[in-house]
């Protein structure tokens, strides 16, 4: 009898312990039902990027007169938040959609400091034209001089965070996504937009 009881208790404890473990599950990124979080998560970047791209397209300023696409260089996106954000989380989506819209072409040859550029644009030229291995390359396939297209526009911006403490143990965190497209020929701002995402919750939650 005692043996049976002991076995039952052991079984029940095992079931309870296993039941307490939160199983890992994949996030449904298409129809995510997860609760909002104080920090910026992928849904916030999705929303900001979606609204930015739609604003750009709706503005009608990116249709180049005489056809063709504007060539756009990546400017600096400043992360002025308390979080370690790779600003490409935002810019990757924006650039992808703008490029696929057919309105602009991004250049991988020119960009602000610390922005991802393709170093092969230059190093492949160095290797195939000027190095001691240059003879190994078919001269007809080597990039000729004067082929790179200079950018006409640059995209830059800033992500700002503001924390506001409320009464009754609440806080509000405001995130400002600011983007602008500048005309590199004359320095004028071609397009500009700001999207504000606000989150309100317990001040015990840490927004970084």
């Amino acid at each position: 009898m005692i043996k049976k009881l002991l076995a039952f208790v052991l079984f029940a404890s095992t079931v309870t312990l296993v039941g307490c473990n939160t199983p890992t599950e994949n996030v449904d990124t298409i129809n995510d039902q997860g609760k909002a979080v104080m920090q910026l998560d992928y849904r916030d970047f999705d929303r900001a990027a979606s609204e930015m791209v739609q604003s750009m397209i709706e503005s009608g300023t990116f249709k180049k007169e005489g056809g063709g696409r504007y060539v756009v260089a990546k400017g600096r996106i400043v992360n002025d938040t308390m979080q370690h954000i790779d600003t490409d989380q935002l810019m990757g989506k924006v650039e992808q959609e703008l490029t696929r819209s057919g309105l602009v072409a991004m250049t991988a040859a020119v960009g602000a400091d610390n922005t991802p550029k393709d170093s092969l644009v230059y190093s492949s030229r160095d290797l195939t034209r000027d190095s001691d291995k240059a003879d190994e390359f078919n001269k007809d396939t080597v990039q000729a001089k004067g082929q790179l297209i200079a950018p006409e526009l640059s995209i830059s911006g800033k992500i700002i965070q503001r924390n506001i403490r409320y009464d009754n143990g609440k806080q509000q965190v405001e995130y400002y996504f600011q983007l602008q497209m500048n005309n590199l020929t004359n320095g004028l701002v071609f397009w500009q937009n700001e999207i504000v995402l606000g989150k309100r919750g317990s001040d015990k939650k840490v927004p970084w």
């Binding site: 129809n31 995510d32 039902q33 997860g34 609760k35 909002a36 849904r43 999705d46 929303r47 990027a49 979606s50 609204e51 791209v53 739609q54 397209i57 709706e58 009608g60 990116f62 249709k63 989506k93 992808q96 959609e97 696929r100 819209s101 057919g102 309105l103």
Partner: protein, 144 residues
Amino acid sequence: MRLALNTLLLGVVVCLCGCQQEDKRINMAADVKSDNLLVNIVTKPVIYAFSWIIGEGVEIDRAVTYVNKDGFLQLDIAGHNRAFNTIVYEYKVEWLDKDGIVVDTATSKWLQTSAAARAPFAIKAVAPRTTAVDFRMNTRKIPN
């Protein structure tokens, strides 16, 4: 007799003022505009409760699509909130090509919007591809 006449006159004036045609372009919230004989401190709780019981919510009045000057399909939705509270919800617009296939775009995401109590609202969206010729839209409550 004179008192009764004055009261009647006052009643008629109040009624007429209450029935005054309002400019439909301006939506005055229930707790901002003046009360009248039909909507006042006594009847409001009953009206609110009735609205809640019958489940009044957001309704779409019209959805218009047009191709803008750059060749992108644009969507303008107009609707109104019948409820007596602000309704916050999410919507997702998906764009369809001429074959009815969903156009793969990173802009088709759940986006948050809200409709103020008893007020009209508008949603605007633009397809990021010139191949889009139609749309479909889903809505959902904000996940709790």
